[in-house]
């Protein structure tokens, strides 16, 4: 059997949040409880997470907001150091997030150069593919307009086109597939399958279960920083749904907050 593409071993990620805990006048008058004496608070976003991913697998990561999904992706992409544990991968995973490298004052064409070079392509490589990228994003006719004139859908398409142009072996997408029209969804789905087909691995964080069901062969459910489910979509998604319903019932029960 071939080597796994990603191995995550007992990984925890802790953030240090600098909280403002000075005694305020209001607290003094109302007599509220001061938020501890410390200047900062440690938040454990990911707790003792372990899993192994094999070539060709596409893994959906689900969980409520703030459950640690994005932190886990960032740690796997080597963007955020793990506090303990270790992560191995066959190649550095690429997180679909080039929008941070783009400049809204510059033209779309210029931004392809910017995003592509940020991801490590050379200028010549980008020059050779800039037309393909613009065409894939469906923005060829607007290529000389500054990015700020683009709709959010157009920007997201361009971002997807740039990120996948490097054909990463391991691609990570954080809630990005909901954008674009039907036609683009189909095109991007195709490209994702292409990446998976060439023995690549996909990680997809999404809240839309249909997207996960359509694209993922495996689902990891993160709750409060821990893995609560790991298996095929038809096992994990129903369990996630029923836990979610139960939690809502509890919330809406006695308290009316």
């Amino acid at each position: 059997m071939s080597d796994p593409t990603v191995v995550v071993h007992d990984v925890s990620v802790t953030y240090r949040i600098h909280a403002d805990s000075r005694p305020t006048l209001r607290r003094l008058l109302v007599g509220g409880r001061p938020s501890e004496g410390r200047r900062h608070r440690d938040v454990e976003a990911v707790k003792n997470v372990s899993f192994i991913v094999h070539p060709g697998e596409s893994v959906g990561i689900i969980g409520r907001n703030g459950s640690g999904k994005s932190t886990l992706l960032r740690a796997m992409a080597g963007l955020l150091p793990a506090t303990s544990g270790q992560i191995w991968a066959q190649s550095v995973p690429v997180l679909l997030g080039v929008q941070a490298a783009l400049n809204s004052e510059l033209s779309a064409r210029r931004n392809v150069l910017l995003g592509g070079t940020a991801l490590g392509m050379t200028k010549t490589e980008v020059d050779g593919r800039v037309d393909d990228i613009l065409e894939f994003a469906g923005v060829e006719q607007f290529q000389d307009l500054p990015l700020r004139a683009f709709s959010s859908g157009m920007k997201a398409r361009l971002q997807f086109a740039i990120s996948t142009a490097v054909r990463p072996q391991i691609l990570m997408i954080d809630e990005a597939l909901a954008v674009g029209d039907e036609e683009f969804k189909e095109k991007s789905g195709e490209r994702i399958r292409e990446i998976m087909g060439s023995a690549g691995t996909l990680f997809l964080v999404a809240h839309a279960m249909p997207t996960i069901e359509e694209l993922c062969s495996r689902v990891i459910w993160i709750d409060d920083g821990r893995i609560r489910g790991d298996g095929s979509p038809d096992e994990v998604i129903p369990a996630y749904r029923s836990a979610w319903r139960a939690a809502r019932k509890r919330r809406e029960g006695p308290e009316s907050d």
Partner: protein, 302 residues
């Protein structure tokens, strides 16, 4: 807080079996946060050379976009600054701050000090903000983080180019004759850029660890401005104090300013100033780069 966030103790997920030595079992795996060796790191930086130029060029264009005078501000800023100091120290203080038998006037002396100083000051200030202001980029794209300070210095260098033309124009207007030595401004500025890069590396990582550094920096830079012989000639005030003079002249900024002044105002250059400037530049670059890179994988925590 509701009970909804409680972790499920009855979780059925069992941890996968992970061999004790992962890399021996699966040789194609590498730790994702492994630091590339120095050579590879520099190669990865080189691969992003277009990124390092395109980004600051875009920022520079955007900088004064919403003002009426637009890009002209890149020229007016150094002019106004020089005018302010000239007004205070020549017209109001009106006391000789430079050698009486100098062949150039106070205005030329002043502009040849303020403009180079400004370049270092702006780069260091920007360097201190770098990791914080690029948070989202750092948290979403993997690239050698040293790209950021280099890119920032390139941006300031582009702005400084305009300022240097303003400086030379002012010097010319005061009646100084141009000479072939003016060309030395190019290598001097090149080395000053590298010097600035070294400082920028240090400032970036220092503010990353201690945000307070950003508040101290303006005062440190102000002090540096006043002791760098920008407003007065150090010789003129330290004639009976050789130690004080030695200390003031060991200042790298003063060395760069001396080089610029010698070249533009007197058409000459001094080896001692070059040795001093290059020594500081090399030392700071190496120290700054390695200090910055040692925290490479940490910056995502910003």
């Amino acid at each position: 807080m509701s009970g909804a966030s409680s972790a499920d103790p009855t979780s059925t997920v069992s941890a996968p079996e992970i061999p004790a030595d992962v890399e021996a079992t699966w040789p194609s795996l590498r730790p994702v946060n492994a630091q590339p060796g120095l050579r590879l790191y520099l190669e990865e930086m080189w691969a992003r050379r277009s990124f390092m130029v395109v980004v600051p060029a875009g920022d520079l264009k955007a900088r004064h976009q919403d003002t009426m005078l637009g890009q002209l501000w890149h020229m007016f800023n150094p002019l106004l600054l020089t005018a302010v100091y000239f007004l205070i120290f020549d017209v109001i203080v009106n006391r000789s701050l430079i050698n009486e038998d100098a062949t150039y006037g106070y205005l030329a002396f002043l502009v040849a000090g303020i403009i180079p100083y400004q370049y270092t000051q702006k780069t260091v200030m920007q360097g201190a903000r770098l990791i914080i202001s690029n948070r989202s980029l750092i948290q979403s794209v993997r690239f050698p983080r040293a790209v950021l300070p280099v890119s920032a210095v390139i941006g300031e260098l582009m702005a400084h180019g305009t300022a240097l033309f303003v400086m030379l124009a002012v010097i010319l207007a005061t009646g100084v004759r141009p000479s072939i030595a003016w060309l030395l401004v190019i290598p001097i500025t090149f080395f000053q850029s590298i010097f600035n890069l070294g400082l920028s590396f240090l400032a970036s990582r220092l503010t990353f660890h201690f945000r307070d550094f950003q508040n101290i920096l303006p005062f440190a830079l102000r002090l540096w401005f006043y002791i760098s012989g920008i407003l007065f000639e150090i010789e003129q005030f330290t004639q009976d104090h050789p130690t004080r003079r030695l200390l003031l002249e060991a200042n790298p900024i003063n060395a760069f300013i001396r080089l610029i002044r010698d070249a533009t105002l007197e058409g000459r250059t001094e080896l001692s100033a070059w040795i001093l400037a290059l020594g500081w530049t090399g030392g700071l670059l190496v120290a700054g780069f390695f200090y910055f890179r040692a925290a490479e994988t940490e910056y995502g925590r910003v």
